[in-house]
Symmetry: C2
Subunit: 378 residues, 2 copies
């Protein structure tokens, strides 16, 4: 294998696949990146067996040659060394040449590195996915779906399905739901899909989705999603992202979302976020980050106290209340998580009682909702 | 105690003294900040008994009232809570009022915090320093003295004096020296001092100097330095920084700095830094971060190897050599530390032999030098 490649393109390909490199593995080859070149260009792969990323550098990008292949071939190189070396190379062009015994020479300017590589044939192959469940959506929309649901996944492994986000599709509406059984986040988006395509209970690990979210471009380019038996594939222009799916049946969450309410409270999302963050400064020192919301006819007060530290209270002046008065307590962290990913400037919080879950809805864009379970305070 | 104060001025005073707050202490009051107000303004103090910082907010700053005192008094409040609360308060003005039992009310906009305070009389007093060894230098020069010597202090407690920087003054020349016995950094600067003021062996803890360095303004305002028996005081416009001194006799380092050389090598400091950083990528995996410098008549090569990872070599093209050829090996980290704090675009490295310390000198500004001991490689 021998090629010459533009340093910045090579570096960005390395940084793309590096997200899938296993950081704590006992299998040495998984800490590496596979590089394969042929006349069409360069392909880079990394996997930790849970997720896999493959990215391509074409020989020509926007008619500019960014890559010149002198000899086809493949090698596996340590991801950590490769990325640090390429980041620091002195020249805008890099030559990579594999010699005997997988010894790989990396040249740039007057600098020459010799790295011990591994046999590319030993690198695990990414799954071949021939799913027939294919649909498409813009990268930015997929990013929002991820950003608005992943914070609500469970971090405890006791119920593995809850560490994932459950996807379903019906009538061209893609739904992401996540819950750790104390709060629930749900986001819906329209996608391009065959009219008869319907699925449910596709559980993607939250960790995989977070990595995918960081990889997705900030634009409206379409991402194709392919679902197979125990794998999911997200196809971007030059990059493919694979993840295994979580086995098991996700609980039915549709019934726990209340539909009628006794109290409604409309408020600016930023005003509320800042007030909850202040209350949380005191709340984090009591047992469960507990803050209280005291919804009265003409004002809403948020408060918290901690015997060792002190207390805090604040009146939310710019909100409007309708319905019954109510005093409710909950974990501040859940409301902060929800408000941080809300796009709408105004939200409505809907309550059915002090001990019932309450709903946070966007006013401008009702495709997102968040549900929080209160805690008992007496 | 009762006052009203501008939030941003209050926050910056808290952030100034917070550097001296003890983060791991068994004495509760040391995790606090003492606030004292009288008609002249507000004074804030923090100490971990090794360093102490006191800062003032005058009632008027540039003729703007930033502070209004309604009732004189003093209180000690948790540094952690105070800084987080003030950072998040909603309004540009803050009211602080101490009530019964040291309960302190902090009001801003519609937000009200109640914090349990501690009795200000129990807060340790900073030392009264009436030194007669007083001199002055611009803040930026003091910052450079610190930045260019502190990286060379020892981090091991076996020889406590080496964890400090030793200061001496003679003929108006202030000298900072630090060494961990593998490398040595020395920086000299002219200061404003009485003609007959001379001292030596004043050993300031490196940790204190690092904190002071972060506190110093980036300008030429004068800092007064007062040295007493076991304390040193740095006086800025509104802030005073105290540190204890380290007991003991600092070794005489003047004799280990060579004065005649067999080989000299002139090079751009940035070119050399980048080349050493590349070599260090491989070197950090061998025993002592060892890189080799091969100084030949017409070229200089820097290289390193690690049996597990591979090797690297690079020719420095823009340097010029005079004197004997030489092969020398050393810890890359020491040269990187030295080159990162050098101001000069060009440096000269002077060698007396493979097993003798070598000197790094700034060409444009000879007030700084760095000495590195080589390692044996065979």
């Amino acid at each position: 294998m021998k090629l010459s490649v533009e340093r910045s393109s090579l570096l960005s390909a390395i940084q793309t696949v590096q997200r899938a490199v296993s950081t704590k593995t006992t299998i040495p080859i998984l800490s590496g990146i596979k590089i394969a070149v042929d006349q069409t260009g360069l392909k880079m792969t990394a996997t930790d067996l849970e997720t896999g990323i493959e990215t391509s550098l074409p020989a020509l990008l926007n008619n500019d040659p960014i890559l010149q292949v002198m000899e086809e071939g493949a090698i596996v190189l340590s991801a950590r060394y490769l990325s640090e070396i390429v980041r620091k190379l002195p020249h805008s062009s890099v030559e990579i040449e594999v010699k005997q015994n997988y010894l790989t020479v990396i040249r740039s300017g007057s600098s020459e590195f010799n790295l011990h590589g591994l046999h590319a044939e030993e690198f695990p192959r990414l799954p071949l996915i021939h799913g027939n469940q294919v649909f498409s959506l813009p990268a930015l929309v997929l990013k929002d779906l991820i950003r608005q649901t992943v914070p609500a996944i469970s971090t405890e492994e006791i119920r593995p399905v809850l560490t994932g986000v459950v996807m379903s599709l019906k009538d061209g509406q893609l739904r992401f739901v996540a819950t750790d059984s104390h709060r629930l986040a749900q986001r819906v988006a329209s996608v391009e899909a065959p009219a008869d395509l319907t699925f449910s209970n596709v559980i993607v690990p939250g960790k995989s989705l977070s990595e995918l979210g960081r990889l997705l471009p900030d634009n409206d380019s379409l991402v194709d999603v392919v679902i197979a038996d125990n794998q999911i594939l997200f196809k971007m222009e030059y990059t493919q992202f694979y993840s295994r799916l979580i086995d098991g049946q996700y609980p039915d969450t549709s019934r726990i979302i209340p539909t009628s309410f006794k109290t409604e409270f409309r408020v600016g999302s930023k005003d509320l976020l800042e007030a909850v963050e202040r209350a949380a400064l005191i709340a984090r020192d009591n047992d469960n980050n507990v803050v209280r919301l005291d919804v009265k006819r003409n004002l809403v007060e948020i408060s918290s106290n901690s015997p060792d530290v002190g207390k805090v209270s604040e009146t939310l002046s710019h909100g409007s209340v309708s319905g019954e008065e109510l005093l409710i307590a909950f974990n501040a962290k859940y409301l902060i998580d929800a408000l941080r990913v809300i796009e709408s400037e105004e939200i409505v919080i809907q309550f059915t009682g002090s001990m019932s879950p309450f709903l946070i809805n966007q006013i401008e864009n009702p495709n997102y909702l968040h549900l929080i379970l209160p805690v008992r305070i007496y």
